[in-house]
Symmetry: C2
Subunit: 379 residues, 2 copies
Amino acid sequence: MHRVPICLILLCGFCWAQAASDSQPASSNVRGAEYPRVSSDLRVTFRLKAPDAKKVQLQPGGDGLGKGPIDMTRGADGTWTATTPPAVPGFHYYWYLVDGLIVNDTASETYFGWGRESSGVEVPEKGADFYAVKDVPHGEVRVRWYYAKTTAAWRRAMVYTPAEYDRNALARYPVLYLQHGSGEDERGWTNQGRANFILDNLIAEGKAKPMIVVMEQGYATAAGAAQGRGAGQSSAFEQVVLNDLIPMIDATYRTLADRDHRGMAGLSMGGGQALQITLAHLDSFSWIGSFSSPLRAGLDLKTAYGGVFADAAAFTKKVHLLWFGAGTAEENMLKPAMAMSETLKQAGIQNVFYQSPGTAHEWQTWRRDLREFAPLLFR
Amino acid sequence: MHRVPICLILLCGFCWAQAASDSQPASSNVRGAEYPRVSSDLRVTFRLKAPDAKKVQLQPGGDGLGKGPIDMTRGADGTWTATTPPAVPGFHYYWYLVDGLIVNDTASETYFGWGRESSGVEVPEKGADFYAVKDVPHGEVRVRWYYAKTTAAWRRAMVYTPAEYDRNALARYPVLYLQHGSGEDERGWTNQGRANFILDNLIAEGKAKPMIVVMEQGYATAAGAAQGRGAGQSSAFEQVVLNDLIPMIDATYRTLADRDHRGMAGLSMGGGQALQITLAHLDSFSWIGSFSSPLRAGLDLKTAYGGVFADAAAFTKKVHLLWFGAGTAEENMLKPAMAMSETLKQAGIQNVFYQSPGTAHEWQTWRRDLREFAPLLFR
């Protein structure tokens, strides 16, 4: 009569012991934090002590942890836990909903996304080390403050300089301007995207040319204009890039300061900005990347982007690279981008289209985009 | 009969309007967040929408916002508010306690302190602009990854290079190693302390010599040792500094790589580390700063710090600057430091003691420490 319950207890104990020995604290945790933990099958276990809460949920800020909110289970001591299904590899925002209130995990580092500092969990991808910190020469990410006349305010740019930059005192370098997505900021590409390690690794392997990468925040309000997301915002950012940021970068760093050595790319909102700004200013840019950007369906080649695609021969002569990427798990971004790429190809405008297998509107897609895009630049 | 309530309503309306028109969103908020707000008399108003909470408190992570936890008041729509008494100027950590749970403010940037990412509020100091971003040449804060053999792990250092560094390709610079306090990390001195702006301003005014400032995390576990705060930790950090960090910095940057051009300082735990490491290695350091460090009372000159103070003449010959600082509102740090400073002076060992008026164990003390300490360096 007692056999069944004892077996169940043993089984439970065994399961728990397995999960514990097999799982590792996420690399995105703060020093010493044991949870969240990722097991070898990529299930992620979250844990929050909230004895007085009536309901605690895990809210993923993206698609890779599964559909949220995920109800957490209360233990006897008031610790709530949840384990996700096997997660998509990569970086995922998350937060807790404690009786409906957004609560960050004190065990996680914070990452600026969703318009606020957010928790995040790194799920490793088996065999993928292109964004790992490796024993190769490392570039620097330099925090550069500068005054923008457009906004009459100080702004912060993050500037990646390749490992050789300070050793080759006479060399000059091409520049990629690389933009984050909506709700993120100039820290996203290094903190979440690990862009510096991706470039360090590509450059060390000889796969990408040494380049400077400039990461700025894609928000701007023109001096004197009202704050907010008005129509003037995107044009103010364009003015910042052209009239403040590029002149400052070219005056401060040893750049190759011409259109043949200047590119711009971005993810999501930032990809839209990259297309808008570069295609309107081909005198300044010749390398263009759009990662998971929200593109309109039904591209009119004659009128879209100021009619820049109307003359395919002229466009091809000017633009060295037009590159699109999207994840196969983000159909709403993938399909219009694929359609645009096809329409352009049919019109004789060469471009590259990359599909990131199995990833959605999240950073693993954009890390891979950068890995694929950067080697093609400045050739 | 109706006069009194009407008057009260008008009065209330007037008070509220005054507070609203007079107050400003804290500069430490995320873009566009209206709360926390600081009024001209330095009262700080906090606001959190948590309709389902039974009790919400504001918990200051320091002394400058008043004694906590401070009970917040629930409004009809479930928004809880609290206004502090006039705050001490400077940066203050804070978080909410929502039914006892630690909850960061999604309206605030986060700052690594208390062993986790924490909310923080910046309260301006009237007339003090020594840590403001001003129209002067700006140095860079460079994120530098390096491999430490001591810990067999990659570490991140923040390296401030003065504005002229890239323009003076042949110049070499002295180096200050500058450590954070317990629960903080290598980001503290720039994010919370604004050390880069303090140095930019001092250097631009000719008050401090251009220097490199290296900010590292004061934690280390020797390769193969168990994680944690064991006895080996502080010695592992000492080994990192001497055997990994300094050699890497001297190999990577144009430093003046000798003891006459190398200093170390730190705040709280970091000040203790600075004293411990420098006084045991006067062959490597000659400029020493201790900001609000927990010092033992009753210094035995013959035995303390390996007996380095026993021969005053020899010490004075070697050490160019020994500097102590503390806030007048942190008696437990001020008194032992003052006593140590006095004991040393009486023994013929020159040193500087600085008291930060009205500030406690918080960043405004340490910003002022750096403002007073840096101008004396490398003369």
